[in-house]
């Protein structure tokens, strides 16, 4: 049973055993690899479609085919970016999990009270922003596919397709920027956890063993 405690500079939970991984960390351990593999496949598909589109342009194909391919290619490539940034976020969560579970196990092995840092504000923001960024990129990619299916060989439709591409391009970029900022916060959380570990390790020899 863990109890919340406020100690100098850190909010911690105290327990007699290591608390192990929390839910986001368990998800991170399970999902980083599927996300990475999906990203690699989507990057390959996006590149292949880029080559197909270039060849259509060189052959002087219909403008609506070229515009359709532009939307689909961008959708695939940015689903790839959504996946690879998810994989990075999950890998960071996995590192935080190793620090949480491993740090607790070390204190437990030393026979001392186990203190585990409560989830810092940067970690909570990391999770929220990561989900927002993923949603932004996935929705933008889906809209690319929807707009691609809506293109007719008329000047008005082609102009609409171009305008929609311009807006979605900006939205995708914002999604990536938010993802990068979320990753920044995830890494900043690692700094805080390492700081806590260094402080806690130096405290252990001065404490009486509880077992």
């Amino acid at each position: 049973m863990a109890a919340a405690t406020v100690r100098a500079q850190f909010r911690v939970e105290t327990s007699s055993r290591s608390l192990g991984y929390n839910l986001p960390q368990r998800l991170g351990r399970a999902l980083w690899l599927p996300m990475l593999l999906m990203a690699l496949m989507l990057f390959g598909a996006g590149m292949a479609l880029g080559i197909v589109r270039a060849s259509e342009i060189a052959d002087g194909s219909a403008a609506d085919t070229i515009a359709t391919l532009q939307h689909v290619q961008a959708g695939l490539m940015f689903l790839g970016f959504a996946s690879v940034f998810s994989a990075i976020s999950f890998a960071i969560a996995r590192i935080l999990g190793q620090l949480r579970a491993g740090g607790g196990e070390v204190q437990e092995a030393a026979g001392r009270t186990v203190q585990t840092l409560r989830m810092p504000g940067t970690a909570k923001l990391f999770l929220v922003l990561m989900m927002m960024a993923m949603a932004t990129l996935v929705v933008a990619s889906i809209l690319h596919f929807v707009f691609a299916a809506d293109i007719d060989p008329t000047p008005a439709s082609l102009a609409d397709a171009e305008d929609r591409f311009v807006v979605l391009e900006g939205v995708r970029r914002l999604g990536i920027a938010v993802y990068l900022f979320a990753i920044l916060l995830g890494l900043a959380t690692i700094i805080r956890v390492l700081r806590f570990q260094a402080v806690r390790l130096r405290e252990l020899p001065r404490e009486e063993p509880v077992r």
Partner: protein, 308 residues
Amino acid sequence: MTVLAELVRRPPPDADPTRTLRIRNVAIAVGLAGLAAVAAALVVNVLVATGDAGADNLLWTFGASVAGFATLKLAIALVLTGIVVRLWMRVDAVKAALPELKADAGPREAVSDGDIDTPFGRATLTEKAPGLLPPQAMARIMWKPMLLMGPMLVAAGLVLSLVNTGADDPDTRQALSAWTQGTQFLGEAMLLAAISFLLGTILAGLREGGGEVQESLGLAVKTLRMPASAKAFLALMAMGLMLGVAQLVLYGIAAYVDDPATWFAWLGPLRELSLGILLSGIVLALFTIGTVLGFQHWRIRQIIETGR
């Protein structure tokens, strides 16, 4: 200057671990600036699409967005330098605490060098701490020039995009557009390479620090062998960086060809692929760091429980 000094020096062994690193807050502020640049570019893109601004503006919003990404990556690199510093403080804390926590194992037995199995993969058993692996030694050197060159290239591309916004001649536009994209994406690739090298520097610190702690206690030194994920990370990083250079060369050609639309149609995905591959390498580097940390906690527990 004090903040910059935090980046490059190992803190003294008696450094106060409760002290907060200013670099962390600086990095978050830099990251917010990058986010703001990309958000501003989105607003202009919407204005262009609704007809409230000229299509010319898309040239500079491209430059500004990529510059925003570069700013965010620079911020990530700054945070990673903070992690390097904090890891050394952790090494010093373990060195200070372990002699009093470890079980008394009696007189030390002779160590015969060799390989052992651990829950985290194969490890080596040695008398003395092994040195750094060549890629780790290289990473410690290379992150600095990459971090310097990346933003310079992105800034150069931003200037080109601003010049292009006011250009009238179609040939000039084609050339400036091609060089903007090529230059900025090589800059982005270099920034991701700097991040990769910093992750390599973290792995170097974990290897060196782990060996240092065990050797200081007079114990046999157990060091994890280079995991397959680390090897794949190196391969992806090299491939991504080479593609980043290749796309600049190819954009240099596309700047003067007769059918730029065909070239731009496949060079766009190519430059994104180079960044995607570098990012995939970063995933594997982070996975490796997690594995090494798990190994270190396992080894610390082993020393506490068995004294060996």
